[in-house]
Amino acid sequence: MDWGNRKDILVFLEQKDGKALNGALECLTPARALAQHTGGQVLAVLMGTDNAGAAEKVAPLADGVLAVTGGDYSDGAADAFTWALEQLAAQYEPAAVLAGNTPLGREMTARLCARLGLGSVQDATALTWDGDTPVWTVPLYGGTVLNDVVVDTLPVVATTRSGAFAKPEAGQAGPVTPVELQVPADAVKVKVAQAVKELSEAVNLEEAKVIVTGGRGMGSKEQFALVEELAALLGGVVGATRPAIEDGWVSRAHQVGQSGKIVAPALYIACGVSGATQHVSGMNGSGYVVAINKDEDAPIFDVADVGIVGDVAKVLPLMIQEIRQRKAE
């Protein structure tokens, strides 16, 4: 791949409450691989009203941090973020621009590509090399088919799937460069009127070692409590399918699947889950899968290491009891 004069890799790091998201930090890993090929630096881009806290944590993971302030870079200000990313792309002439595949990351990269006339890949799960050319793996059709894709335009623009790449090891802290970018009024078309916090619980499915997921087969909110009990017993996190959420048994922060979280715990227990592709594509990276379903032919059994054919109302209490006993011994 001919990188021209382009060397550096810009990585947009989305923040929440003054901390860079994990999915964004993971993006620094493919960025490092790219930088090794281009001979450039990995530059982490933070945008916010105050980046100090995040910058300190990020600096050891990158060669440098660009801390952008000077406009309304508050949560959800996608117009301002997109405009600033465009300015940085012009100023730094990077070889690549990467972001986590969050709604914001997707929107910003899409708009950047429209402005600069670029191709891109979304939701990349792996980066391999064909000589000096980066080849990205992207899932199609809910993950049953994979495409290896080469981006033909520069800078290479890509978003990466949360959990697909390991977070980089900390090294020597790179310098933090404050960048003042005043957002012009005409760059901002839509405005956040109000941000409301509804869900108080922090649900960290992405980093969970154990996930116990309940589906529609749990039958009721009361019975869904069995899923919560087993999860607590195993020190794990509660997951859910879309129907379980739509029935109001648990908040949507627990959704696993194509339109929820992509997870890869060491142990995944699916209770009353049929195994639709949209769900399985979010959990088939799990280490060990246990499925409980009363239907012997449920597709979830195709991806389960241990399948328990039975009624969750009977199986779960027994499992809870048995595991409790083992713990006590």
Binding site: G143, V145, K189, V309
Partner: protein, 263 residues
Amino acid sequence: MEILVCLKQVPDDSVELHLKPGTQEVNLEGVTPVVNAFDTYALEMATRLKEAVGGSITAITIGPEGAKDAVKTCLAVGANQGCLITDPSFEGADTLGKSKILAAAIRKLEADAGKPFDLIFCGREATDKATGQVGPQLAEALGVGVVTDLVDIQQTDAGVQAKQETEEGYRLVDAPLPCVVTVNKPPYDPRYPTIKSKLAARKMPIPTLDAAALGGVAPGAAGSHVVKVYEPAKRQAGVKLKEETCEETVAKAIAMMADAKVL
């Protein structure tokens, strides 16, 4: 309110797709083409808005002749008119190319009708490739604002207010019109057509627009290319347990989990 809904016809996403053995070609035999699920959510949201404030909905798609069926489906559940955008030169267009074509089609439809669209709906992503790029890129091509991943929308004095879900709650985003919105799964399901609405839709004409009708618009070279199509390593199905009693089944399962050191 003049509303446009952009939709894509995709293979039925309740069917698990695989490659034809020994090839890099996806086996679509016997798989029904359907309207992208997120576009059906977009249409439902648009229809509810239309019912609340009045107006008209136009449904458009870029695709082969067969994609007319997708437009028909929309005519039976809320869209007032629709058209197919089709041309051999549009095949292989990437998201940027498609957003250019859609923008040209929008300009053409606006000129023909003598009035502009106020609001353009897209899905959050198409379930086949799930790039989620076309909506934001269409907004850029049109030079208007965009709000992504809505679960609700309302008309306001100044335009619309969109509800956007976040990790911990939601945001209300104000957007002046015209603008593009992309739709996530709202808390309701799309309505079903009735026999009557289906019959009426079947009779409605669906005009087509080709490259020439759109002033010779060309998608341009794609910005990326696929070098390999394959299937991920399959998870091996393990054992299925169904002993005499539930107690035995559970005991056996727990023993296996303990052996695998996952407890």
